[in-house]
Symmetry: C2
Subunit: 219 residues, 2 copies
């Protein structure tokens, strides 16, 4: 089994988007698609599609293109969507509860197994049938349940410390919504969702657009 080849981050970033488009094609009962047709749909070059997919082996066939169902399934496997990933949410505020209610994740194998918070007021309240527990129960819970992913939705002043606790109790993957860069050991996977940074990028582009409009008016 010679896997070895390191796939670039840029490719991984595009993979879920391919998966989404292939899922749509599948729903429309499209059987096969060429890199050219897909490129027009997705607004990327056909060359990039072929290069990207070839990182993982020859999924297509000359003169035919790619079989939609096969490609969809294969990309799903690459993304690890063919197995169940049990998750917990740590931080049952608005965002944590919103994510708990997001049932689409379940469909892809991301199974919510517990919700935790530090605030005693929330203890016992149920979100989508799952009771909110106190952090004190966390170590015991993680011992008794195989959990792969922790969703961290605490405010940033509590998130760093909580990440340490999670890691000490064996968590290997954190989906981090707190506005800090977690300081974690090399074998722990962190995926950040920094909403405020996303909003600032929007703001930059908006301001840039406004600056350009102003310039045009002054010219």
């Amino acid at each position: 089994m010679v896997e070895a080849k390191q796939i670039s981050k840029a490719v991984i970033k595009r993979l879920p988007r391919y998966y989404r488009y292939l899922g749509e094609l599948l729903e429309e009962n499209v059987e096969r698609i060429s890199s050219n047709d897909l490129s027009r749909k997705m607004h990327v070059t056909a060359s990039q599609i072929r290069q990207d997919l070839n990182n993982f082996g020859g999924f297509g066939q000359q003169g035919y293109g790619y079989n939609v169902k096969y490609l969809y399934t294969e990309i799903g496997k690459i993304l690890g969507l063919d197995t169940v990933h049990p998750m917990i949410i740590v931080g049952a505020g608005n965002l944590g509860q919103a994510l708990a209610n997001y049932s689409d994740f379940e469909k892809r194998g991301f199974k919510l197994a517990g919700i935790f918070d530090v605030n005693p007021v929330l203890e016992g309240i149920s979100v989508r049938g799952i009771e909110i527990r106190m952090i004190s129960e966390l170590p015991e819970f993680l011992k008794n349940n195989h959990i792969e992913i922790a969703i961290l939705t605490l405010p940033k002043n509590k998130a760093g410390e909580m990440a340490d606790i999670l890691i000490r109790n064996g968590i290997k993957a954190i989906w981090n919504f707190a506005h800090i860069d977690l300081d974690t050991p090399g074998d722990v996977i962190v995926e950040n969702v920094h909403l405020s940074e996303s909003l600032m990028r929007l703001s930059y582009n908006l301001s840039q657009y406004q600056r350009e409009q102003d310039e045009k008016n002054n010219a």
Copy 2:
């Protein structure tokens, strides 16, 4: 006023992170910092910091480094955080309400002016003092209020159509949380937050890690 030079997306993407670190330094009353010290803090190269900042002009001083407060302010201006950006939320589900409750945005000038939904059950309910309105009121509302940004938190089957309505009524920037690529005219700014894609990237890295562990055990 010769602005002209196009800043690369990669630089813009890093800018909010610089802003965050400078804000933290400011809170710690740090007066100045060299690209070298900042590089160690942020785990990027000093060379990249200097290159990035120089896109916008000479913010530093030889032999001294960068003045934290000045740099923080300047990057804030570049990001458009020195002016108020009125926003509306379209889609008052869990995520929409979570974002409405997120008061940190307000601090940076992102001011929530209205919340809209298509579901009559939600009509009149208040979130952080703002009443949820029906979409039918949207055109009138946008005529009477200067709104820059629409936060789109509807499910994907409704998001496309709603984006069209927003654009028809003059919205020029959409922060899109729906899992679709909006089809918008060139002068409309779209910033996507595709949570499911982020979770899939986490899943890929986790699966990859597990595959590597398996290999090690078999060797």
